[in-house]
Symmetry: C2
Subunit: 390 residues, 2 copies
């Protein structure tokens, strides 16, 4: 079985970065292009970073391997934060640091899903999760959910999910606040998802990357804090969103110790651990989060309102996250979907195509309203208004 130049079959089961396909077109526009296609925030972290020579003397082990579950001091600070802000009473040993939520979600699928088993993806969902399920050999079962809840907040969720349940389903992937729809699940909705998972003995993979990034009177709730739910829930958080430090690639998963022991086996083989130095840097920001996060969330809410007001087509206003996600089938004016995406690029705005967020969203687009500074956002809105004259 000579192998070279062939690759393993799994390479064909996934695509790379969802934005790869636009790379050359975007590069050709240079600085003119306003990038609202990636979920990121334009500003630097609004808290102090220990970037000085004192950091080295204060952290003698900064350059060395750390405990593969994570730097203890950080996990202790996170445990306090979870108790105070998420009503989740855990200790440091029930937290494992990961290379972003991305890595936490990957080790979760690897740890839970056997080849041939199904995992229910409430959609629209974060694009890479689907690929992770494929790489674990599992089958994603897509269930249109968050967008539907905007229209039907009192949907009987248990019956609805049971309708989509297969005999091979072993887990449910839930994400609140939801990327890309901006939906923030309320207590009753999460309670029903929890009941469904418990009744059918399914693992609940709870992606809470946008923890804290909610607007108006919407509040993020952590499913694992609901009575009886911690045992079978993997709660996943990141430093990429409210901490505005996606470039640090740091996140964590919260679960019972036997779960973490298995996920740790997957992680040490993927990357050993996330960086020691990154973890040490984040101890203070976790402790002071309540002091600095509110101001930026308010700022993001203002940007959301600015987009909602100035963008001519009427769209669903997100309850959390930094995205607008809307169908453009009524805005095509005779053009094809990809023609319109290209029109956006030609006008100088990069947006994310909907198909990556789920089978049912092929005629939607996602726009990140914090991807570039406010003056550039204004420019992007003006340009989008020429593409979508409404």
């Amino acid at each position: 079985m000579p192998k070279y130049p062939d690759f393993a079959d799994r390479c064909a089961s996934v695509t790379g970065s969802v934005f790869e396909k636009f790379r050359s077109k975007m590069q050709s526009q240079g600085d003119r292009m306003v990038g609202l296609h990636i979920g990121d925030s334009y500003a630097a972290p609004p808290y102090d970073l220990p970037l000085d020579k004192g950091f080295i003397s204060d952290h003698p082990g900064f350059n060395r391997y750390c405990d593969t579950f994570g730097v203890r001091e950080l996990r202790e600070a996170i445990a306090e934060k979870l108790q105070k802000e998420n009503r989740l009473s855990v200790d440091a040993d029930e937290i494992m640091m990961t290379a972003g939520a991305c890595n936490a979600l990957n080790v979760s699928t690897q740890g839970l899903v056997n080849p041939g088993e199904d995992i229910m993806l409430l959609s629209p969902y974060w694009p890479f999760f689907r690929g992770m399920v494929h790489l674990a050999g599992g089958n994603p079962i897509e269930v249109p959910f968050y967008t539907r809840l905007y229209e039907e907040p009192d949907l009987d969720i248990v019956s609805y999910l049971e309708h989509h349940l297969t005999p091979s389903t072993v887990a449910v992937y839930v994400n609140t606040p939801n990327n890309p729809s901006g939906k923030v699940l309320n207590r009753s909705q999460l309670d029903q998802i929890g009941k469904f998972a418990k009744h059918h003995r399914l693992w609940l993979v709870s992606d809470e990357a946008y923890d804290g990034m909610t607007y108006d009177d919407h509040v993020h709730l952590t499913t694992a804090s609901f009575p009886g739910m911690f045992d079978q829930t993997l709660s996943i958080f990141t430093f990429s969103k409210v901490y505005m430090f996606s470039g640090l690639r740091l996140g964590y998963v919260v679960a019972r110790k036997p779960v973490l022991r298995n996920l740790n086996k997957m992680m040490v083989h993927q990357l050993y651990s996330p960086p020691t130095v990154a973890q040490q840097m984040m101890v203070e920001p976790v402790r002071t989060r309540a002091e600095w996060s509110g101001k930026f969330v308010t700022h993001f809410q203002e940007l959301r309102d600015r987009f909602a007001e100035r963008f001519r087509p009427q769209t669903q206003v997100p309850e959390g996250t930094y995205y607008f996600f809307f169908p453009i089938d009524k805005l095509l004016n005779g053009r094809g979907y990809w023609e319109v995406i290209n029109d956006c690029l030609d006008a100088g705005v990069a947006v994310a195509p909907g198909q990556d967020f789920g089978r049912d969203y092929a005629d939607w687009i996602r726009v990140c309203f914090t991807g570039e500074a406010p003056d550039r956002l204004d420019l992007a809105i003006e340009r989008l208004n020429t593409v979508f004259p409404g």
Copy 2:
């Protein structure tokens, strides 16, 4: 198929950190324990780190997602380094940044090996690699190699490897300088491995984590620089060893673009990319490597010589890396192997058990002579001399 509380079967196919089993015993000894079990260096990086407020203003994107193949400036600096020091003429697009060599090796196995296929592991090998092969569904074929070359430098390598070749073998894992044996492969040896791989159309996964950490007149050679070898070789490097920054979890893989495109698909699903900020920090150290690395390699060579001189049992002196690796079957004095490992721990020295480095090394141990500062190394040698009276 209710799943909770069961995990995916693959969890049982690998173990976690090889040092997990000693954790409680080691913790109970506190600071008394000299840790020579992990491959790491006691000193801080011997080059300037841009840890000051100016770093933020100089690197406006430091907190944001980067190109998933890596920060361009760093890859360009690495390309220059590879050309100058490794005689490997590549451009920045033939380099992909990863979360350490660990991550590079994992995406390589995922990208190359299908379930049921074999990969030849020249042994002794870095322990996690075996687990990576299992997680890809592959079968590791262990071939005792580096320790044998100490005794038989002129071994007919092509015939020897052909003797171990199975019909399902798709790749060879080679690691020079070798962890744990300290063997540095010479030109003729690498040339034969290359010929073997080419003749049988096998991918060559070339782990060069200890690039530059060689002693006496031994020189590290990069297989991909040999005529005709680049096409089917994946060359893997790290910032954990000569850069003395294991806690940064940064490394890279060098290969043809089609290879990198497939490995990138695996990586973005595992962690998206290594940290932006970590990559930006390493641009200058890569450029100045020639200025600062020699001094520390000389220091490490002195520590090697100190260990060789003071440790009473006679052992093979490593040609590179920071390990001594030797059999203790003749040093047991009636004790069992694990009893002796425990005696080491009781004496206050943590060492790495040989079984993790390959089936044929169950009665060997590995000692990292740079794991702690020189005075602590001396203490460890004294203690080991009581366990192994020679």
